[in-house]
């Protein structure tokens, strides 16, 4: 089962939920956490995994064989990212703009384009207690998160529970991270911005036909707007984490909630059961 954790905006406590859920379930299940927020991964700060494997995350970029090239211009016409320029006597490639889609090499009539791998990030694989841990880190200055996310997701278990921490927002990297999940948890805070971004996130997850539920973090007296929205949209409200000084302190010290306040463990186990029930219902 794959459960992804997303949020319409940053700083809502997505990682708090992902890490606590992983730790709570790891006593009785085989669990892995995949941090797919490759632009700013932070789950490792809480889980402090020991890494034993590193891989380079890379994309295939074109290399043109000038001997074979007739400067027909086809490659630059097919490249939607404008990563190739064809002049009368030369072809120029701009690897930092290339998304590695392979279209140019495939369509070159002279078979003049070979591909070479360009590293854009690293994948680190390890363990934190009984939780398997994988994250991707995009190199500084690189813009292409989705290929790194895809490479992180190659490590998803075929059995057990995989928990994916997605990046905040509703852009391509989030879609890439959430895609293929059985369930998506959306973490929000009870502010007008929180609601606005939650609604965008719900739309994105629904477009992927993934069932979702909401968790309110820093819950206080202002929850009613979010609750009304969830009611209207028929989205289950699965958990509320109160605005609480103890919880905030743990978070700021990089201590997972369920390790700091152990009664939360049972609540996260209940949360998992609620998710299972929703997924089952969906399947009927």
């Amino acid at each position: 089962m794959i459960i992804s954790i997303a949020s319409g905006k940053g700083g809502t406590g997505k990682t708090l939920v992902a890490t606590s859920l992983a730790l709570s379930l790891s006593e009785n299940h085989r669990v892995q956490l995949l941090d797919c927020d490759v632009e700013e991964p932070n789950a490792h700060i809480f889980l402090k995994p020991i890494f034993d494997k590193r891989e380079t995350a890379s994309i295939p970029v074109p290399v043109v064989d000038e001997e074979k090239c007739t400067h027909c211009g086809e490659c630059s016409r097919v490249c939607v990212y404008n990563a190739l320029a064809v002049l009368k006597t030369a072809v120029m490639t701009f690897p930092e703009l290339c998304h590695g889609c392979g279209a140019c090499a495939y369509l070159c009539p002279e078979k003049a384009i070979n591909e070479e791998l360009r590293g854009i990030g690293v994948i680190e694989i390890g363990r934190s207690g009984s939780v398997d841990f994988v994250h991707g880190v995009l190199n500084v200055g690189e813009a292409m998160a989705p290929p790194v996310i895809r490479q992180v997701k190659k490590h998803i278990f075929s059995d057990g529970i995989s928990i994916i921490d997605a990046s905040p927002g509703t852009s391509c990297p989030v879609i890439e991270a959430v895609k293929g999940s059985d369930y998506c948890l959306l973490v929000t805070d009870p502010t007008p911005f929180g609601l606005n971004d939650l609604a965008l996130a719900v739309e994105a997850v629904r477009s992927l036909q993934i069932p979702c539920g909401v968790i309110i973090n820093r819950s206080d007296v202002n929850d009613s707007q979010i609750e009304a929205y969830c009611d209207r949209e028929n989205i289950p409200m699965l958990m509320k984490i109160p605005l609480d000084i103890e919880i905030a302190k743990l978070y700021s010290r990089g201590i997972p909630l369920v390790l700091g306040i152990s009664e939360w463990k049972d609540r996260f186990i209940d949360l998992f059961e609620d998710i299972c029930a929703c997924v089952k219902q969906e399947a009927i």
Binding site: S76, Y81, N82, A83, A85, L87, K88, A90, M92, F94
Partner: protein, 124 residues
């Protein structure tokens, strides 16, 4: 000599657009006969690599010189490779710019004059 200007409109009275990669029009002008041809700039609405497509488009037209405000690093690379001279910091009307060019009053640039993404507007 055939030259090209980045412009805000399609004729001699239009202003020179300071953005090479993102300008709406390219005006191809024969500096002797003043024959003029206006085209759209394929870079204007490109999601990325605007300078590259724009530079390739003008190189396809066999121009000898580009007159514009600023040129980014990628466009600069393509234009240099194509052997096209670049005159930057050009302002005012297209008519005036062509006059300055003919009288040799423009300065040729040797390197990119702005970082990438110039003239792209706020990131959305």
């Amino acid at each position: 000599m055939k030259i090209v200007l980045s412009a805000t409109g399609p004729g001699f009275e239009a202003a020179v657009d300071e953005r090479f990669g993102r300008c709406p029009y390219f005006l191809y002008i024969d500096s002797e006969t003043l024959e003029i041809e206006a085209t759209d700039n394929p870079g204007e609405k490109a999601s990325g690599g605007a300078g590259i497509v724009a530079a390739q488009a003008v190189a396809d037209k066999d121009v000898k010189a580009v007159l514009t405000g600023h040129i980014g690093p990628n466009a600069h690379e393509v234009l240099s490779k194509a052997g096209i001279k670049m005159f930057t910091d050009v302002t005012g009307k297209v008519r005036e710019a062509v006059e300055s060019f003919k009288s040799g009053n423009l300065k040729e640039s040797t390197g990119p004059t702005v970082a990438g993404h110039f003239g792209k507007g706020p990131r959305v």
